[in-house]
Symmetry: C2
Subunit: 332 residues, 2 copies
DNA sequence: TTGTATGCGTTATCAG
DNA sequence: CTGATAACGCATACAA
């Protein structure tokens, strides 16, 4: 910047003011400055600027990267929105464990990000404490806490009703009466909601939730396969399965294949989470599709609004998934 | 920090020295400082530190996010490696266009990242110029330039031989003589190499490359479908297809489905890039699988080595993809 | 073993 | 309309 000032024969503060359009400057002076910027190839130092202004124009994202398609989609959506608004994005992986989550958040905090988008782990209390102490603008994504946290914004999708809809479809349209569920990792809020939706769907259609098998998968293919075995390897196994997220779905379809089963033949499946290829490969999956792009853009929007006005009341937004009826639930 | 110093009754420089272990300090003093840090909840300001030291401990990634699975995998691998080494990762999307690429790079540069991992667009000259001017440590990923760029490290996979292997498999094992290719976006280095590999494979097996249809897809589903139409809707269409990357594969399988074709019945396919579900869904794809994790970790390793020693000679590393023979190429 | 002073590159306040 | 100057929070050279 001092280079630019020297070349343009002005002071550093004038250079700063033309760059930031922060006060009136003589058109001729401005022209000289712009030319000097061009000539020297000057680019402002965001680090120094941040130190001075207290704002970094960086948003931090902390979520688990384990479920690759969902992670990739959300990251993509967030990056796009954040960039559109003139911000950059720092990415950190929570691995869905409280320790890594805390570590990720600390990194974000030390970089003085202007705000954080967090998909909280199963035990996020330490994380919340850390965040609260720093009073950093925060929006929770994907997992919307049941208890209303003070001044914490959140975006997620509806889980209970959509899963109930999936169950109802299995019962009413395809006549299933023995339905099991492979739920995602235990402890996560979305998992709890999806299980609740499963039970609700059963009840509403005259089935007994206490007799339906629910097992947790979603952490690894092996663990998910074990969950399936617990559900299927019994005297009267279910004839239909609700799969709680995309990781579970991929692992279960793979495992069913090993058993020689391709839904809907042998067993019917419905899944939470869609895939770009769900319509092209067999079995063609019947799914509840999350509006991932919207999730990302709304998260950023909420966050920027809170950065602009920290006094806002906390907002929780729930988006509607879309029911994609295809073939894995039984041919129509 | 001044808070900490006051509470511990020492100077700011002592606090700095205990945090960074940068000179001997009396055990008692150190204890007092650590307690003061704990009590005040102090966390060093990375922004101020960066301004002072000239290092941000941030790595920038610039690549296209369009091909979601590949993007997600690489990002995941990079994030993990970078975090392990005590760095953070800023993510930017080049959209695979020179303008956006330049924009992304400028953002990275303004944040004074310590190094950049770039998947160059088809016309990266402006980007390279910008980078060279700033002399920022750089490693190219995925697309390894043919011409040896001075002092630019690069990691990618072998493309020519692996695609030739795919073609050979089609000819020798399954007896195809009319083979077409849906290549990825034109202009990208990897695309050129994969087409070269396609031609090489044809020649080696006594087929005439000049008679084989090669069309570009990979930018959108529609454009990829159009490429397929140009290949298939002719008097003597190919009986086998080489699919140049994962985006192309998903779009083509979807389009074939609309035409009532499920490989290998009707047409055989082999693809570059694997999917986690490629083995479980029909058609079970025969693929060349990229070692994505390794790609990411090697990129980071090369970058950190160059940051440590900018005088190093440029290194190009090519990883070997793995041939996954499944069913889409014809049942064995 | 510890403290003081300086400067990193900005922006913002205050004069002129 | 423009320039000089201080301060942001840290790391480090120099002093004690």
């Amino acid at each position: 910047m001092s280079d630019v000032a020297r070349v343009a024969n002005v002071s550093a503060s004038t250079v700063s003011h033309v760059i930031n359009k922060t006060r009136k400057v003589n058109p001729e002076t401005e022209k000289a400055v712009r030319e000097a910027i061009e000539a020297t190839g000057y680019a402002a130092d965001a680090v120094a600027r941040s130190l001075r202004t207290g704002r970094t124009h960086i948003i931090g994202l902390a979520m688990t990267a384990i479920s690759n398609t969902y992670f990739g989609d959300v990251v993509h959506a967030l990056e796009r929105t954040v960039t559109d608004r003139g911000y950059s994005l720092i990415l950190t992986d929570t691995h869905d464990t409280p320790e890594r989550e805390l570590h990720a958040l600390r990194a974000l905090l030390s970089h003085r990000v202007d705000g954080i988008v967090l998909a909280p782990s199963a035990a996020p209390h330490a994380a919340y404490a850390q965040l609260a102490r720093r009073k950093v603008p925060l929006v929770l994504i994907d997992r919307v806490p049941a208890e209303f946290l003070v001044n914490v914004d959140a975006v997620g999708v509806q889980n209970v009703e959509p899963i109930a809809t999936l169950v109802e479809h299995l019962v009413v349209v395809h006549g299933h009466t023995r339905i099991g569920m492979v739920a995602p990792k235990a402890g996560i809020i979305t998992t709890q909601e999806r299980i609740a939706g499963f039970r609700l769907g059963l009840e509403r259609n005259g089935l007994d939730p206490s007799e339906a098998a629910v097992e947790h998968g979603g952490e690894s293919a092996e663990q998910t396969a074990a969950a399936l075995a617990r559900i299927l390897d019994v005297p009267h196994p279910p004839t239909a399965l609700v799969l709680g997220n995309n990781m579970v779905t991929v692992a279960i379809i793979s495992e069913l294949r090993k058993r020689g089963i391709t839904p809907p033949r042998g067993i019917a499946t419905v899944s939470f989470d869609d895939f770009p290829w769900a319509d092209s490969f067999q079995p063609r999956l019947t799914t509840m599709s999350q509006p991932v792009d919207e999730l990302g853009s709304i998260a950023v929007q909420l966050l920027l609004e809170r950065i602009a006005d920290p006094g806002l009341d906390a907002r929780h937004v729930r988006l509607e998934p879309t029911f994609e009826v295809r073939e894995s639930c039984g041919c129509p």
